[in-house]
């Protein structure tokens, strides 16, 4: 176990493995949704308020306008996963840039950037996202932008602290003394060691992105062309008394998605932990 690679340590954890498989499966379903389902999720093609498991072809029932819930769930997966991935990428780019600048140059630039990051972390993030999306009119782009705008500080702070600490590490200094070029040092010494905590942080960013998108859609600020899980929950709000299952399934979908991402992140954290030599402390 000591000499196993990162990959082996990752798949050795059941929770992380299940999470990863779930996400892969979900991704697959999401991508193939147009072929798996008949028609778009907006199509009102059946009796309204059908309970699940009561009619073939509509296994998960229908909503109050007669739209198939299963189709809605699958298309919702497309939204959640695409927003999750895109927002995470945007956050990564912004956070990486800011964090690297702050960590590399230091001085007043660092101080200013960190104050800005702190600012964006303290103010109510969802509220800001709501206003931003409202002002710019909801679309996939604005949603991704809004999420990235409130999520980048966490990544920037991490990149900066990794940069600062790794720069001082003796093996990086050794590389300098050996004459390795700065760019080579960044890519071969610093980044591989910064990768681990970065990946873990990104998984939390993705989980938050999925929850934020759901919240925005719930408030009516989702992409108007997309059937998002949050939208489905909102739509079911009036039906709590008569068709409570309508709200159950999209909510569970969000929950499982976030749990899976979270477990994968946790699995990565444990997998990347440097191997310890047993008996290192007597």
């Amino acid at each position: 176990m000591r000499d196993s690679s990162v990959w082996q340590r990752f798949i050795g954890q059941p929770a992380a493995l299940i999470g990863a498989l779930f996400l892969l499966l979900l991704g697959l379903l999401a991508v193939t949704a147009p072929w798996l389902c008949q028609g778009s999720p907006w199509e009102m093609n059946t009796t309204p308020m059908l309970a699940p498991f009561t009619q073939a072809g509509h296994w998960l029932g229908s909503d109050m306008l007669g739209r198939d819930l299963a189709t809605g769930l699958l298309y919702g997966a497309r939204v959640s996963l695409s927003v999750g991935v895109l927002a995470t990428l945007a956050t990564l780019l912004t956070g990486l840039l800011v964090g690297a600048l702050a960590g590399y140059f230091g001085g007043w630039l660092d101080a200013v950037l960190m104050r800005v990051a702190e600012f964006f972390q303290i103010i109510p993030q969802l509220v800001l996202a709501v206003i931003l999306v409202a002002v710019l009119e909801p679309s996939l782009g604005t949603i991704v932008l809004a999420i990235a705008l409130v999520a980048w500080p966490a990544v920037a702070r991490l990149v900066r602290s990794e940069f600062l600490s790794l720069r001082q590490r003796e093996f990086v200094q050794a590389a300098r003394v050996l004459g390795q070029a700065p760019l080579a040092i960044v890519f071969r010494q610093i980044l591989p060691n910064a990768l681990a905590p970065l990946l873990v942080t990104l998984s939390f960013v993705m989980a938050t992105a999925i929850l934020t998108e759901a919240a925005l859609a719930f408030l009516g600020l989702g992409d108007p062309d997309a059937m998002s899980w949050g939208y489905m929950i909102n739509a079911s709000r009036g039906m709590l008394r008569d068709a409570w299952w309508m709200s159950l399934m999209p909510g569970l979908a969000i929950l499982f998605c976030v749990l899976a991402v979270n477990r994968v992140g946790e699995g990565l954290r444990i997998a990347f932990e440097p191997a310890r030599r047993p008996g290192d402390s007597t």
Binding site: A174, R188, A275, G279
Partner: protein
């Protein structure tokens, strides 16, 4: 101490099992020892000898996965296994106290030092607050701390390392314990403070008639403080006896090796040096560091205040100083990890003081560095082979040449070729330090700057590394700058020694001359503090 004193602590056939999966099955195998009233027993061993586990087992504070498999512990005749936890708690801190290695982490950073001593008194039943406070102030004064009334409210971070250790000792003395277990209490301190703490402990022992179980890895400390000595190796008993017996006439080879490891005498006579141009020269080197304080305001420290140095070919120059003397900064300036703020630096006669990094890179192969921490100086995510090839590749060799060089230097430091495919975590501290040396040698340097490169290693491994360095120096005609806080290591290895204090070289000269007739008061004081083993120092051939 006469042998007629009653036995306080009696350990018989103690065996402590380690959790399975480790490289050892037991921390201690069948250990027996005893401590009499008022005497000081030193338990000596390297890391992995089980000595720390012994201390923890005595107070029944072994970490959860370990347990006492076998053996009896008797305190004043009573078997400790018969005591339940509340009774054990009554014993701890009162009759048997413990002092630890790291005073900073031993104290709670969020409580004042007075409060932390106070709570010991409170826990063992002293109800009256005024009485407790008086006792705390008395204890703080007893251990030699100035202004105890004010110090009561101080926090650990406001005190120096030596002061914190005194606080920990004061805490341990709260109820005038019969036995003090000291687990490497001076290892984290600089040599002057070490001396002071050892003197303090000896004084307390004398005045209170307190027995001490003193755990250490350093035979120099044993010499200073022990009545009796017990040597451990990998959990096994090696030998024991009075201090005079073990130090003067050690029976076992292991003990002999440990004692020899702290000698300041070089193993082989140093060869005479041919005169020649200096390979490394520093003139009036200066370096400041400034730290931002709040919104505006800076604090500038002068790490180097005008240092002059020369290194001749084939020579070993030892740079000795305590922490804060600037020796590490000097090392980094010599190897151009830092750019000096004043003065000049010459490598092989060429001025490299202000050379821009890009132009310097091609010449970097000439002067290389060996770092202190074997665990931090290797990239944990790269294979050894890749790391050894970094230097040659950076200096323009082809991958094939670099690979060949990697194999070659690995052989030079005595490691097998199979190491190339492995990761750092698979090696021990000593082996990693060898890899660090190999990495430096891969670019064929003429000068090595060794920055405290053996400080983090066990005594016997230290000796191995030092011998390796000497051997390499002879074979490859290297010149070495050896930076250390340990005067005896410097004395053992160096042709000349430079003593540093507060950013300046206060004295430098040939080793024998400097040690025999020191001029500067600081050098004299250092010698005194290290003269824990003056007899050993004089054994220069």
């Amino acid at each position: 101490m006469s042998a007629a004193q009653p036995i306080l602590l009696d350990v018989e056939h103690l065996r402590i099992a380690l959790p399975s999966g480790g490289d050892r099955s037991h921390a201690l195998h069948d250990l027996s020892l005893h401590v009499r009233e008022g005497e000081c027993l030193c338990v000596v061993g390297e890391s992995g000898s089980g000595k720390s586990m012994l201390a923890k087992a005595l107070l029944r504070l072994l970490p959860a996965p370990l347990k006492i498999e076998h053996g009896t512990l008797r305190w004043r005749g009573e078997d400790l296994a018969n005591l339940d936890e509340p009774a054990m708690r009554a014993l701890r801190g009162r009759d048997i106290s413990m002092v630890f290695q790291e005073p900073m982490s031993a104290l709670n950073p969020l409580l004042s030092v007075g409060r932390q001593i106070d709570e010991t008194l409170q826990a063992h039943g002293v109800k009256d607050r005024a009485q407790r406070r008086a006792r705390v102030v008395e204890l703080l004064g007893y251990v030699g701390l100035p202004d105890p009334e004010r110090l009561y409210h101080a926090y650990p971070f406001e005190l120096s390392g030596g002061q914190r250790q005194r606080v920990v000792i004061a805490m341990a003395l709260a109820f005038a314990p019969k036995l003090l277990i000291a687990d490497e209490p001076t290892s984290a301190l600089d040599v002057t403070t070490q001396r002071q703490i050892l003197d303090l402990l000896r004084r307390i022992q004398r005045e209170q008639g307190m027995a001490m179980l003193f755990i250490t890895h350093d035979f120099a400390v044993v010499e200073a403080i022990a009545d009796r000595v017990l040597v451990l190796q990998k959990g096994h008993y090696v030998e024991a006896g009075t201090a005079a017996q073990v130090l003067g006439a050690p029976q076992q080879d292991y003990t002999r090796q440990l004692i020899a490891a702290v000698s300041a005498a070089p193993d082989h006579p140093r060869p005479t040096l041919a005169p020649g141009k200096p390979v490394l020269q520093a003139q009036q080197l200066e370096k400041h560091f400034s730290r931002r304080l709040g919104w505006w305001g800076r604090r500038t420290t002068r790490a180097l205040a005008g240092v002059d140095l020369q290194l001749a070919e084939g020579e070993t120059l030892g740079i000795v100083g305590e922490s804060g003397s600037g020796k590490s900064t000097l090392g980094r300036c010599l190897v151009r990890l830092l750019r000096s703020d004043g003065g000049s630096l010459h490598w092989h006669g060429r001025d490299v003081t202000d050379l821009p990094e890009a132009r310097l890179r091609g010449q970097r192969g000439e002067v290389q560095m060996i770092f202190q921490d074997p665990f931090a100086s290797l990239n944990p995510r790269q294979r050894i082979g890749t790391q050894l090839m970094t230097g040659p590749l950076a200096q323009g060799r082809s991958p094939a040449q670099a690979a060949e060089k990697a194999r070659e230097v690995l052989g030079l430091v005595g490691l097998p070729e199979t190491a190339l495919a492995r990761y750092p975590h698979e090696f021990s501290g000593g082996q990693r330090q060898r890899i660090g040396i190999a990495r430096a040698l891969a670019v064929e340097p003429k000068v090595l700057i060794a920055d405290e490169c053996v400080s983090a290693l066990d005594a016997l491994i230290q000796v191995q590394i030092l011998e390796l360095l000497e051997d390499l120096q002879r074979r490859l005609k290297l010149s070495i700058v050896f930076i250390t806080h340990d005067l005896r290591v410097a004395a053992r290895l160096s042709d000349r020694i430079a003593v540093m204090q507060a950013g300046q070289v206060v004295e430098q000269g040939a080793t024998a001359a400097l040690l025999g007739q020191p001029n500067h008061p600081y050098t004299r004081r250092l010698l005194q503090d290290f003269a824990l083993h003056a007899p050993v120092l004089e054994a220069t051939p």
